[in-house]
């Protein structure tokens, strides 16, 4: 047993060392990219649920928040019996609130100003995330709202004509973060549903509000959990009740589309990773055939051969899982903070076991699928054939050769090169298809209105910002992987076509014709990839988005198509040009049989 184990390890290590580094790197990269996005998706998934709960625990969040439609003494009278009602175990407030106009950085927006003091409350003790808590003359912002306004600690803002200094930011579990707070106000108040929340010293609120009547809010905790989990929002006897369940859900809305974008993105990435892994593996099969034949000749059984290949791919898979997990985990905080409006960000805790498992399983599954091809082949090929070391001979497609005789030289060369290697042609198509799909979806995202209307002013919607960030992140990873794929597939195409190209040049084709011919060979499959990718990307965006959607201008899409095709052409032309620099005789001699 020890002997066989030694053998498996030895063959694996030597083979990895002998491999061209780019194949190993590419495999690593492809699998890592897939796991990284998955990790990120799962991390955000956690971020969706847990920070609210964490915040709720840390700030003694209420079960239910009661806000009467009435104002002043009438409101206080309406709230008075609630605190003493049966089943209520704790309460805080009523706290005065005023719906006022806030001016910061030249923008005037409606805001909800709540009056608080330093005394410790039984429920809803907002946790300061930066700066200090309220003091006379100071105002504390909910961080997502501060971010959207571009307000920093130390700035001076104006509330209803009164200048106040921004002294800190704090989070609460009694309201969903901007812009999902979902305020319900009586007619005539300047309040809008998505107004942001700030706190001031309660001694000042009367002065700030001036002639405007004050509203009040009361935080309640119940003995019976069903008293708060059975509804999200209700209105009874002129009082609005919001339960923590509803608040948590509204909070989640901030990252929900980003999460969806990441999830869809990780499907795309996984598809691309699988395609490129399949391409690499298929390229290696030729190389592995002789090795497999040889192992079989000295008496290695199917299980041994499977073990040798699996070991190699699993090591790559595990390394990639580690890299992908780390990358995904490190990238996660960028999407949840700053100013997520909630306590705790994903990066501060080790990834959940579930995340680690899922990422590892994905990486290993891709790796195992990669190992399957050579193993199956080994089991089915005749040992003698394998030993004969015959690479799959280029395939001859009669009709294409016939067709190409009637074309300009460059096109002719391109079509003939593709006729030799249909697998590579498919790969180029899939690569451009997936990349274009991602990019088209991103353009759709960019075309959307990313603002929230607050009164007369428009503010950036943090939800759209985050969604775009997530999309951008996925697309960057996708593009890097696609670029590497393109470079590798171009290089192999050039190497592979060296001999026929040399023959073409012996027959009188110019280096320029040959270069253009290579570019045509890669462009031909890229064109359907792009043509399908654009509608696919638009469709994907439509399916996964809510609300009314604007279409990106057609000119953007044309530009996208041209950019992708141009990139493919340039990527091909460079190595092809380099190859045609060499004298013909060299190429004819140096080609492997």
């Amino acid at each position: 047993m020890a002997g066989r184990l030694l053998l498996v390890c030895r063959l694996m290590v030597r083979d990895l060392r002998r491999r061209r580094t780019e194949t190993v790197l590419l495999l690593l990269l492809a699998i890592s990219a897939a796991t990284a996005t998955l990790t990120l998706g799962l991390a955000l998934n956690n971020a969706l649920a847990q920070p609210y709960e964490r915040t709720r625990a840390a700030t003694a969040g209420p079960d239910v928040v009661a806000t009467p439609g009435a104002t002043g003494a009438e409101a206080l009278a309406a709230l008075a019996p609630l605190a003493a009602a049966p089943g209520v175990t704790a309460h805080s407030g009523p706290y005065p609130m005023a719906y006022l106009m806030l001016t910061a950085r030249g923008k005037t927006v409606p805001a909800v100003v709540q009056g608080r003091d330093n005394s410790s409350a039984a429920l809803d003790r907002p946790a300061v995330t930066a700066g200090t808590w309220v003091r006379p003359g100071g105002v504390v912002f909910e961080p997502t709202f501060a971010n959207a306004l571009g307000v920093h600690i130390g700035d001076t803002v104006d509330i209803n004509g009164h200048p106040l200094r921004v002294v800190g930011t704090a989070v609460t579990a009694a309201r969903a973060v901007y812009p999902s707070a979902d305020w319900r106000a009586h007619a005539g108040s300047p309040l809008t549903e998505s107004a942001g929340l700030v706190w001031v010293d309660s001694s000042q609120i009367g002065a700030l509000a001036g002639a405007r009547p004050l509203s009040y809010t009361l935080n309640l905790r119940y003995a019976d959990p069903r008293a708060s989990t059975s509804f999200t929002h209700k209105r009874t006897d002129g009082i609005e009740y919001s339960s923590w369940v509803g608040i948590a859900e509204a909070d989640g809305r901030l990252v929900k589309p980003a999460r969806l974008a990441l999830m869809v993105g990780s499907w795309l990435l996984t598809a691309l990773a699988v395609a490129s892994v399949a391409n690499i593996v298929a390229g290696r099969v030729v190389d592995q055939r002789r090795r497999v034949g040889l192992l079989k000749a000295v008496g290695a059984g199917p299980a041994m051969i499977a073990a040798v290949h699996l070991a190699e791919y699993l090591v790559i898979g595990l390394a990639a899982a580690g890299a992908g997990l780390a990358a995904g985990w490190l990238a996660a905080p960028a999407l949840t903070s700053p100013g997520a409006g909630l306590l705790g960000s994903t990066g501060t805790h080790p990834p959940a076991l579930r995340t680690v498992l899922a990422a590892t399983v994905l990486a290993l599954a891709i790796a195992a699928a990669a190992a399957l091809a050579p193993v199956l082949r080994a089991a089915t090929t005749d040992t003698v054939d394998a030993l004969a070391d015959a690479a799959t001979p280029p395939r001859r497609r009669g009709w294409r050769v016939w067709l190409s005789r009637r074309m300009p030289t460059a096109l002719l060369i391109g079509v003939r090169i593709n006729a030799r290697r249909p697998r590579r042609v498919r790969f180029v198509m899939v690569n451009t298809l997936i990349t274009t799909t991602g990019l088209a979806a991103l353009l759709m995202g960019l075309a959307q209105d990313r603002h929230v209307r607050l009164g007369e002013t428009e503010l950036v919607n943090p939800r759209s910002t985050r969604t775009l960030q997530a999309m951008l992140l996925v697309i960057v990873v996708l593009c890097v992987l696609a670029l590497i794929n393109a470079v590798v597939s171009t290089w192999t195409a050039v190497l592979d076509a060296r001999q026929p190209l040399a023959v073409a040049r012996t027959l009188g084709a110019t280096p320029a014709q040959v270069t253009v011919g290579m570019a045509v060979a890669q462009l031909l499959p890229a064109i359907p990839g792009v043509a399908l990718g654009i509608p696919a990307g638009i469709g994907l965006y439509l399916i996964t988005s809510m609300g009314d959607i604007q279409y990106a201008p057609a000119s953007w899409m044309y530009a996208l198509a041209l950019t992708v095709l141009f990139t493919v052409a340039v990527l091909t032309a460079i190595p092809a040009l380099a190859a045609t620099r060499r004298p013909v005789a060299d190429a004819l001699q140096s080609t492997p049989t």
Binding site: G3, A297, A300
Partner: protein, 243 residues
């Protein structure tokens, strides 16, 4: 199956292609190789020598006929069974060596032993002994790429012997070698013959045939001539002829 020969084949047939392109590579061949015999198979290119050897070693399956190695019937054996048989009882030597490029000489030799489940230490000891026997103990740590053709073939022979196989099957072992390297291989085969190793060699080289107990001539897939060489006892005179 009759007789007590170590390697027995009856009516073994292997065809390639069909219709007008049909090639009878091996056509109803009967063969018995007693234990300890050195058999040389000769014949023009394309007459089916390699195919026959592959059939005998279970690298290919016959379309028809039976093949036995000792008490094992090869032609109907499962792939797993064949693998086990190859790693315990059959040693192959190929014209193009077929060493693993990424393994050193000694690692190539111990490959078969490790596959057979020997402990790493025992396998290494045995490999070093064999390398010493083929005169390459000082090259044990070299990769095949750093060895000459003749040296590579001797490593391959050492590998073939690693599990003390019942039979060694060699397909033109000197086909890629110059005359000096051929002599080295020849010396090894002669030594194997004297130790009683059963050996089947496909060759174009009359010098190898000359040291065999028996020479079979093949033509178009069947045996044209089968001669037990009387003079093998005094192989020395044969050596004398070309040394």
């Amino acid at each position: 199956m009759t007789g007590s020969a170590l390697l027995r084949a009856r009516g073994v047939t292997r065809w390639y292609g069909r219709g007008s392109a049909l090639v009878r590579a091996v056509d109803e061949v009967d063969l018995e190789v007693p234990a300890g015999q050195t058999l040389a198979i000769m014949g023009p290119s394309g007459c089916g020598k390699s195919t026959l050897l592959h059939l005998l070693g279970g690298l290919q399956r016959p379309a028809d006929g039976e093949i036995w190695l000792a008490e094992h019937r090869i032609d109907t054996m499962s792939e797993r069974g064949l693998a086990r048989l190859r790693r315990h009882h059959i040693g192959f030597v190929f014209q193009s060596f077929h060493l693993m490029d990424e393994l050193t000489a000694v690692e190539n030799v111990e490959l078969a032993a490790l596959l057979a489940g020997q402990s790493p230490r025992r396998a290494r000891q045995r490999a070093m002994t064999l390398l010493d026997r083929v005169g390459l103990a000082d090259r044990a740590k070299h990769l095949p790429s750093a060895l000459s053709g003749g040296q590579r073939q001797r490593v391959a022979i050492a590998r073939a012997l690693s599990n003390e196989p019942l039979v060694v099957l060699a397909d033109e072992p000197t086909g890629n070698l110059d005359s000096a390297a051929t002599l080295e291989v020849l010396r090894l085969f002669e030594e194997l013959r004297t130790t009683g190793q059963t050996l089947v060699v496909v060759t174009h080289d009359a010098r190898i045939a000359a040291v065999a107990d028996r020479v079979i001539s093949m033509r178009d897939g069947s045996f044209a001539d089968d001669s037990q060489l009387a003079g093998t006892a005094d192989a020395g005179t044969v050596y004398g002829g070309w040394r």
